[in-house]
Amino acid sequence: MTQEGQQTVTIEPLHLLGKVEEFKKQGFRLVQMHCTKVGAIFEINYSFDLNYEFHNIRIVTDGKVEIPSITGIYWGAFIYENEMHDLFGIRFAGMNIDFGGNLIRTAKKNPFADPSFRGEMPCPGE
């Protein structure tokens, strides 16, 4: 079975737009963006593809500072940035379409920012 390339390169938020611009110039398409809460920090992943070559870059943030939007480079990224804003509370500066927190309507604000459970009961064998 063929497996995906899994390389993820962590970069400084300062270099984000330059790096994304580089991917665009080389002809990569934006596959997806997502966020993971790890302890007190948020990891934001950007995945790109060219001819089934899969590349990921990552920035790390405390969630308090604004992250530059990449919608000026990949127009369709607004869907991922608004999703991350609504679920994790990450703020993006300069989004082309800003839903103002109304893309995903949840009972609790930013529900993924502070997960309140990890397993319903002690795991067997652990």
Binding site: E4, Q6, T8, W75, E83, L103, P111, R118, C123
Partner: protein, 359 residues
């Protein structure tokens, strides 16, 4: 003097059984711009990964979608399998491929029926769904479930398909192919379908690529992206060429799906001919630790599952990027400049699955 008005489309609309809302800014009858809204039924399935043990989460991953559920479960398993040190046996990979292609047949026939219904062609709708029943019967017979199969697990599959059943399935494909050819003739040649779909909802090749279109939506605009070419499951051992059209309109998107019916039938035939004997699973040797991406070609396009584990039986994160989510920006571009009357057909032409998008 032309007037600008905003017409709300959805979240409830006769052409769509699922909630998506579009604010259509019209100049007379022509759409100038579009603002899509989803999020009416967000289910938070991604957070449930922290609540369920990783083998149990396969069932939740499958329930992301009620149409391509098997491929969701398989893609999740593929991601976890990279972290638990196990090698999926060949027979399991072939079985996964067979079920994936039956899922594609079922999904495309469902969409073709809905598309025919949206165009007012009710007997064509019934013909598509009648044929879909025979595909669902095979899924039910071989997995126990018509829509949610539950046959995939981390490390392999739960069920085998006996040799005589495989032979019966192979013979049954002849009938499915014959009926699919009759349906295809109507979709590809009927005047009323051509007049409602040709030259409508245009998406250029460049826009399809840069806006992130995937699946038939991308391939109908000449973008040759089909993740089956990466060779996951048993696709690397089967002969396969992606179906690509160039026109980039609603008819091209319909044509890609019609032609893919026959690709799927060929792939199933070849997989049945080549399926090896052997075990159905390899047991995980540890709990998932680290992170992994897995991609697969769903009926609607590229699906991405991302998982992250810390060595316990509960994963820290599951991320599911569904094809509909990434096909929304291209939809916005398709709708710009179209007539209001064509909006339902264009929206349907991307085969939107809001259930998936609201995982």
């Amino acid at each position: 003097m032309p007037r600008r008005i905003v017409v709300p489309f959805g979240p409830q609309h006769p052409v769509l059984p699922e909630p998506i809302h579009l604010d259509l800014v019209l100049k007379d009858e022509r759409v100038e711009s579009v603002l899509p809204s989803i999020g009416y039924v967000h289910r938070g399935l991604e957070t449930l990964v922290a609540k369920r043990e990783y083998p149990e989460y396969v069932y939740i991953a499958e329930r992301t979608c009620g149409i391509c559920s098997f491929i969701h479960g398989m893609t999740y398993c593929q991601a976890v399998e990279q972290l638990v040190d196990c090698t999926v046996p060949d027979r399991a990979l072939f079985l996964r491929t067979i079920w994936s292609e039956y899922s594609r047949l079922h999904s495309h026939l469902l969409w073709l029926g809905l598309f025919a219904d949206a165009l007012g062609f009710e007997n064509l709708f019934m013909a598509c769904w009648r044929l879909r029943e025979s595909v669902l019967d095979v899924l039910e017979e071989t997995t126990g479930g018509r829509v949610i199969q539950g046959s995939c697990k981390v490390g392999g599959v739960r069920k085998d398909i006996p040799g005589e059943t495989l032979e019966r399935m192979r013979r049954g494909l002849d009938g499915i192919e014959r009926e699919a050819r009759d349906i295809a003739d109507v979709f590809l040649r009927d005047d009323s379908i051509l007049s409602r779909t040709q030259g409508i909802g245009l998406l250029s090749r460049e826009d399809a690529y840069t806006l992130g279109a995937v699946g038939p939506t991308a391939r109908a605009s000449g973008v040759r992206i089909d993740l089956r070419q990466t060779g996951y499951a048993a696709y690397g051992r089967l002969s396969f060429r992606p179906v690509v059209e160039e026109a980039g309109d609603c008819h091209a998107r319909c044509t890609v799906r019609v032609r893919e019916l026959f690709t799927s039938i060929d792939l199933i035939r070849e997989a049945i001919a080549k399926i090896p004997d052997g075990p159905l699973e390899d047991r995980p040797k540890k709990n998932p630790e680290g992170e992994a991406f897995s991609r697969a070609e769903q009926p609607r396009g590229e699906l991405v599952h991302y998982v992250r584990g810390d060595g316990s039986r509960h994963l820290m994160r599951s991320r599911i990027r569904t094809p509909t989510l990434t096909n929304l920006p291209p939809l916005v571009r398709m709708l710009q400049g179209c007539n209001l009357a064509d909006v339902p057909v264009i929206v349907l032409s991307i085969d939107p699955c809001i259930g998936c998008a609201e995982r």
